[in-house]
Symmetry: C2
Subunit: 267 residues, 2 copies
Amino acid sequence: MLNPRPHDPTNLPAANEAAARHVTPIVPVNRGTIKVACSGCNLRELCMPLGLSHEELDRIDDLVANRRKVKRGAPLFRNGDRFTSLYAIRTGFFKTCIASEDGRDQVTGFQMAGEIVGLDGIVNDVHTCDAIALEDAEVCVMPFDRIEDLSNQIHALQRHVHKIMSREIVREHGVMLLLGSMRAEERLAAFLLNLVQRLHARGFSQSELVLRMTREEIGSYLGLKLETVSRTFSKFVEEGIVEVKQRHVRILNTDALKEIINPQVYS
Amino acid sequence: MLNPRPHDPTNLPAANEAAARHVTPIVPVNRGTIKVACSGCNLRELCMPLGLSHEELDRIDDLVANRRKVKRGAPLFRNGDRFTSLYAIRTGFFKTCIASEDGRDQVTGFQMAGEIVGLDGIVNDVHTCDAIALEDAEVCVMPFDRIEDLSNQIHALQRHVHKIMSREIVREHGVMLLLGSMRAEERLAAFLLNLVQRLHARGFSQSELVLRMTREEIGSYLGLKLETVSRTFSKFVEEGIVEVKQRHVRILNTDALKEIINPQVYS
DNA sequence: CGGGACGTTGACGGTCGTCAAAATTAGTGG
DNA sequence: CCACTAATTTTGACGACCGTCAACGTCCCG
């Protein structure tokens, strides 16, 4: 009954070895620079393969056609847009969401610096979801045909592309587990733990975070109504597990959050 | 508010152009043959790229190292197994499921002939879910390093691998929509419509199907308890939408099922 | 300073989960 | 082939959890 490596629900979104590695904190980017180069990018460890030769690094720089700024609330791409490129997030925070015919919609993920968006478009050369910036953002535009060309020449890149897509598949498995079998408290606990984990991997605090999304967007992602999200936050506050001031969240008791998800492991 | 191409919830699992194409019905395979060759396989349109040259087709035959039979109830691979290969299903029916630390488990998909399993293992060279045969099955074993080698030489294959992975990501988006925002009846209706659609693409009936999984497995996939699945089936029967005899299901009114998912589109 | 978006809280009801028992089927071994 | 046991399915009663509706409070931005 017990599997050797049970799935870790706190690792839901973007449980990846790259994000788990501690990287140098993000420093403000010189907005004046036009030079687009992965080789000098402090996020390289997050979106690019490791162990490239110097020559390969130079070639990789060609991957990024240009950068693009996206204002808060604006789409990077929309459902129905022709697919041409993958996007590596340099700064900012995105949500991706799909809409059903009858107007229901579902947030399928939240993406932060160093993560890749646009994978949904590859199958049919059309994007099937919206990617919306939740704060002013900048992305590296990587035309997909260049990616395919280069990955024929650089084996590590091919590997990397495969891993990124597989990682997304595994992440979504975790979300399915959450949506299929967890109660509201468990979902929110898993969500918070996952967010701080990813932020921590980017040099931010382990215990403090600023939510970039509304209660409604959290709810949509977690399969809950916004009122339930709000109530669950309040419950965590009552129990002394977190402090919440609007979108500022401070985790006071990480173990308590983990216990919510995995009761019998601790008790 | 309305997107140009809303997501179609009936297309949830494996909504892919290959499965949607009508292919020749599956005929009994000569069990005595040892020859392993995609070029002569009647499922080729489902798992391999189209438009290959004769020479490329020959090379593609090398992809499949061997075939493997899996008895009903037996695992093709398990959580924690080292990842080496992707598997193309020749015959039979699989489920994939993950388990959380505390014993909860979640069916993440059901796979049938012509579909590919094992993509979860690519990220960390370890499988993160179990793939269990729901009936006696046979798969083509395709070592992943061979796939990567060959896709450097055959551009259409590289494309194809990317599309297969992207398709899986999009499929899972659909499942997230289902799990996050649909009620029990809607989930079951979407599930049935998806199954018949995929079976129809393989030459089977549009209205009749045999479920290869238990109510509990359906429930796990749909985020419902088995009692709810059973009750919902009963409700559909009362309403004259389907006939159910154990695992034999006959859909009497496809439009009614679609209406359940998309009320206002029809009424 | 004012309006609109966002968040909180309460009351209530519906959907679905839980527990239990019985019916039907499938699988196993003699 | 049949008997027996385990597995699966159905159905009912009840309750918990979360959704719905509503009102109010807060924050942010112009």
